[in-house]
């Protein structure tokens, strides 16, 4: 299988604090990778560095054959990298429909795919339908519940037609059935060929979803492999159970 994302010796410090140290990771196209680790282990920092929101200090990030270092976040999104935010960040003054429209008119259009106004609108509605939000298409994000906001985040990321989607704690605070909904969504996406990196604390969800598990502790990668093997790893046990 082709290597879609390749991270070599990535490092990031904030003043004196080392957030990430020597992170190397390769993700192949079509994979379902779970990324776990205690709070403060650097998961979100890693996502920010991969997606360009933060610049990495050392190492390199390669995506789809291109070196990403130095490129801005929007350029990486155009290359096919999409992410959701831990705390949903919808465009508060735009309707749900327009929220979905943004990646379509900026990311997808930038790849040279030209759609008419009608096609774009139809696509927006379709995406909202996939996450069950088409009834609220013309409402504002403030009218949404927690789980609906997370679905909007996902739908917006999906609208960018990514090759790789990083879902950052999309399930925090949700009920059983809501978690099931999100997992189903992600599985469907993966079946269509989108590679997914799932960052989660909810072990049940991560274990059932991931084909591969990566564990981050204090900015270092301490395990990377089959979920069952990883969970039996003594270092991982120590990190979680103390």
């Amino acid at each position: 299988m082709t290597e879609l994302l390749k991270i070599d010796n990535l490092g990031k410090r904030f003043a004196g604090f080392v957030a990430l140290e020597n992170i190397s990771l390769a993700v192949a196209a079509g994979e379902r990778v779970g990324l776990i680790g205690p709070n403060g282990s650097g998961k979100s920092t890693l996502v920010n560095c991969i997606c360009g929101t933060l610049p990495n200090d050392t190492g390199s990030v390669r995506f789809d054959g291109h070196v990403l270092d130095g490129s801005s976040a929007h350029q990486r999104t155009r290359r096919g990298l999409a992410r959701t935010f831990q705390l949903p960040r919808p465009f508060a003054s735009l309707s749900l429909l327009d929220n979905i429209r943004i990646p379509l008119i900026y990311t997808v259009a930038a790849r040279g795919i030209h759609r008419s106004g009608h096609e774009i609108e139809a696509r927006c509605v379709e995406l909202l339908r996939e996450v069950g939000l088409e009834g609220k298409a013309r409402r504002l994000p403030r009218d949404l519940t927690q789980v609906e906001m997370r679905k909007l985040e996902l739908a917006r990321a999906m609208a960018a037609e990514p090759k790789l989607l990083i879902a950052d704690e999309s399930m925090a605070g949700l009920t059983h059935s809501e978690i099931e909904e999100i997992i189903t969504l992600l599985l469907r996406l993966n079946q269509r060929g989108v590679t997914i990196i799932l960052i989660e604390h909810i072990m049940r969800a991560v274990m059932s979803f991931s084909r591969r598990l990566v564990v981050l502790v204090s900015g270092r990668k301490i395990a990377d492999g089959q979920p069952d093997d990883v969970m039996r790893n003594p270092e991982v046990e120590r990190a979680y159970l103390g």
Partner: protein
């Protein structure tokens, strides 16, 4: 409504206003009206960067003065007709806007705002020390008695400013409804999420500062002819900075209508006030209105009208509406 039709309607309305002023026969209306129209341009220009993108420019006076002084400098070289001056000054101001943006737009909005203040002072210091345009002593520009079919030079100036105002609000409206306008809104709402969605935020912000700066410069271009004697203190007057912020915020920042309403209302009020009460009380009222509206009516007059009509905002002027009860987002840098 398609834009060319809108532009035509505005021209007709503008023409009607002009005709009415001519009919009234008193030059005062042209002088006062010029100032109001000037503010329409300034507020609309400010709003493109401030209201649409959410980046506050405290240095509107700097761009306005840049336009005025470019006219003076050019006039000393060779007195071009005003429309040509307008374009030249617009280019100068646009370039400066671009340059300033390039230096500061990578920073957070707060730093950008402070930088605009700094720029205004630096520019003023440079101009005060530049003898060619008169420095602190000021510069005289002789206004011709009449030009072409107009009986009066002030009528000509009024008409120019009217055309500029029409152009400005048409441009604002076109931007609002375009892909660019959507991009601007995402920058205002959440720049981080905008980048993650593929919006080239830096490029769009630069476009906004350039257009905004250029329009402000164009608003200042005919000013030396209007006032006859240009001093740095009048060109860099704080009036411009405060009004170009107060008018859109009071009128409503989410669409081209807001700055227009704000400029016409506030501008006319101030013209009346300077005749009756002192200009200091005038400014105090503007300041109080600004603070009052910003606290009580964040969506300005447009927002108040919405509430009164009990309509959902997207029914009326489209999509952009400031959320006064948005859920509390944790402030500070992203995780």
């Amino acid at each position: 409504m398609r834009s060319p039709l809108f532009f035509l309607i505005c021209l007709i309305v503008g023409g009607a206003v002009f005709a009415a002023a001519v009919a009234l026969g008193n030059d005062y209306y042209f002088f006062a009206g010029y100032v109001v129209l000037q503010y329409v341009v300034l507020s609309t220009a400010w709003n493109i960067l401030g209201g649409y993108c959410g980046y506050v420019n405290f240095g509107s006076a700097a761009f306005f003065a840049l336009g005025a002084y470019s006219t003076v400098a050019l006039h000393r070289l060779y007195p071009l007709p005003i429309p040509a001056m307008l374009i030249a000054d617009g280019v100068v101001s646009g370039v400066v806007g671009f340059g300033m943006g390039y230096l500061t737009l990578r920073l957070r909005g707060a730093f950008f705002a402070i930088a605009t203040l700094a720029l205004a002072v630096v520019l003023e210091t440079l101009i005060v020390n530049w003898e060619y345009v008169g420095g602190s002593r000021g510069a005289y520009i002789v206004r011709p008695e009449s030009i072409g079919p107009f009986g009066n030079y002030i009528e000509y100036l009024f008409l120019i400013m009217m055309l500029l105002a029409v152009a400005a609000i048409t441009a604002a409206r076109v931007i609002e409804r375009s892909r660019l306008g959507f991009g601007f809104a995402t920058i205002r709402d959440d720049e981080l999420a905008a980048e993650a969605s593929g919006v080239p935020t830096l490029r769009l912000k630069l476009i906004a500062t350039t257009i905004s700066g250029a329009l402000m410069g164009m608003a200042g271009a005919p000013f030396p002819y209007y006032i006859g004697y240009l001093q740095p203190s009048s060109a860099f007057s704080l009036d411009y900075a405060v009004n170009s912020i107060a008018m859109p915020l009071i009128g409503g920042t989410t669409s081209w209508v807001g700055p227009l309403i704000g400029a016409i209302l506030l501008g006319s009020l101030q013209q009346l006030a300077t005749v009756t009460i002192s200009s200091a009380v005038n400014l105090l009222i503007v300041g109080l209105l600004l603070v009052g509206f910003v606290i009580v009516a964040p969506n300005g007059i447009i927002g108040l009208v919405h509430k009164y009509l009990q309509r959902k905002p997207d029914d009326f002027v489209g999509r952009r509406h400031v959320d006064a009860e948005a859920p509390n987002r944790v402030p500070g840098p992203a995780p």
